[in-house]
Symmetry: C3
Subunit: 151 residues, 3 copies
């Protein structure tokens, strides 16, 4: 099944490529690798603000990570031209805006990991590192960057 | 000397590959590069819990980083098939669970860096980034990910 | 225009390659990629100490990020032999030592991003991830690592 069929089946509409807010670009290709910039979790088009362990629950954080992953897939679509040429999601770095005592970053991260496996199948199985950070630009609760391999 | 001889000389027994606790994999190979997932520091098979500058001393943190590096070598063995085909440890990211005033993350990180040089010799000399994070999954004191090059 | 002419025009003198303070190296080359270690922001040769949102303003943090970028360019010069062979700045990770409520990491990061575009032109347009960390070695206010592609 094409990645686009799978997205349709999941009722996921990819966003247009967001213009970067500063002197950088959403992705760079080098050889067969695509390096994507950190994508902030958004809700209704705006940064999803808050800290895990304070205003944001693990369940909401997981949804926020899923939202960021949808935006990453949108950027991958723009970068690769065709998502069916993405041969592997290589690595995710998942940053969780965390209060001092909050230790469930891996559960939040699953929101992104599970979606990528749903959408890309075996090619979506990735290495990842998730952890709690002190803050994220605009106060977002989650930020994710990604490395992918294209054919 | 083979990497395995060196490990034996250091009395290091590699752990079996740990099954991932979520929707991701311990490593991904792309071209000649291996990207390993973040590995939590463990003690007696469980996450080594605590924060540097609170319950964990720099000396213990260094030992925790060394423990995580042993697990990373175990994953490299599973990924490469044969550790003697690892041509370079390219990059380490070393995350230290840090209280606000704790600034010795580089000393903690040396626990991993020194072991990799001991085990792999010149091929073990790596670039690295170490810093203090707000939290780590399961409350671990150290988390490390790694990029390696294989022949 | 050569990268060196551009640096001269900007009155930037590259520092000599700093000896690493621990068991790692300033950069590793694998294939056409250079992975540079995390570089601490310095002022007058010493770590620029402080936290954004406490002692360090966004404007000073931006200058600190620019300083770290100059040191990264110095390391790139040592790594590539000739900066004009750098075909692309691929990815930056920009760590900002942040007080809990500080959310302008992206503005701090621009200090590095803008300089790289000034110096390398189109080849300087990079992917990046910036966020707030709990601490940085030696208490530095900013730390940056970088991946570049060489011809």
């Amino acid at each position: 099944m094409s990645v686009y069929d799978k997205l349709k089946q999941l009722d996921i509409v990819l966003p247009p490529l967001t213009a970067p807010v500063a002197a950088f670009v959403p992705f760079v290709r080098t050889g067969n690798l695509l390096f994507l910039s950190g994508h902030l979790a958004k809700r209704a088009g705006k940064p999803w603000v808050g800290q895990l362990g304070v205003q944001i629950t693990t369940a909401d954080g997981k949804q926020a990570a899923r939202n960021a992953a949808i935006d990453l897939i949108g950027t991958l679509h723009a970068a690769a031209g065709n998502l069916d040429t993405v041969s592997r999601i290589v690595k995710l770095m998942i940053l969780v805006n965390s209060a001092p005592g909050y230790t469930e970053q891996h559960l939040v991260a699953n929101g992104a990991s599970e979606l990528l496996v749903e959408v890309f199948g075996d090619a979506g199985a990735h290495a990842r590192t998730s952890y709690g950070v002190a803050q994220i630009p605009f106060g977002s609760c989650v930020e994710i960057d990604l490395i992918a391999e294209v054919k």
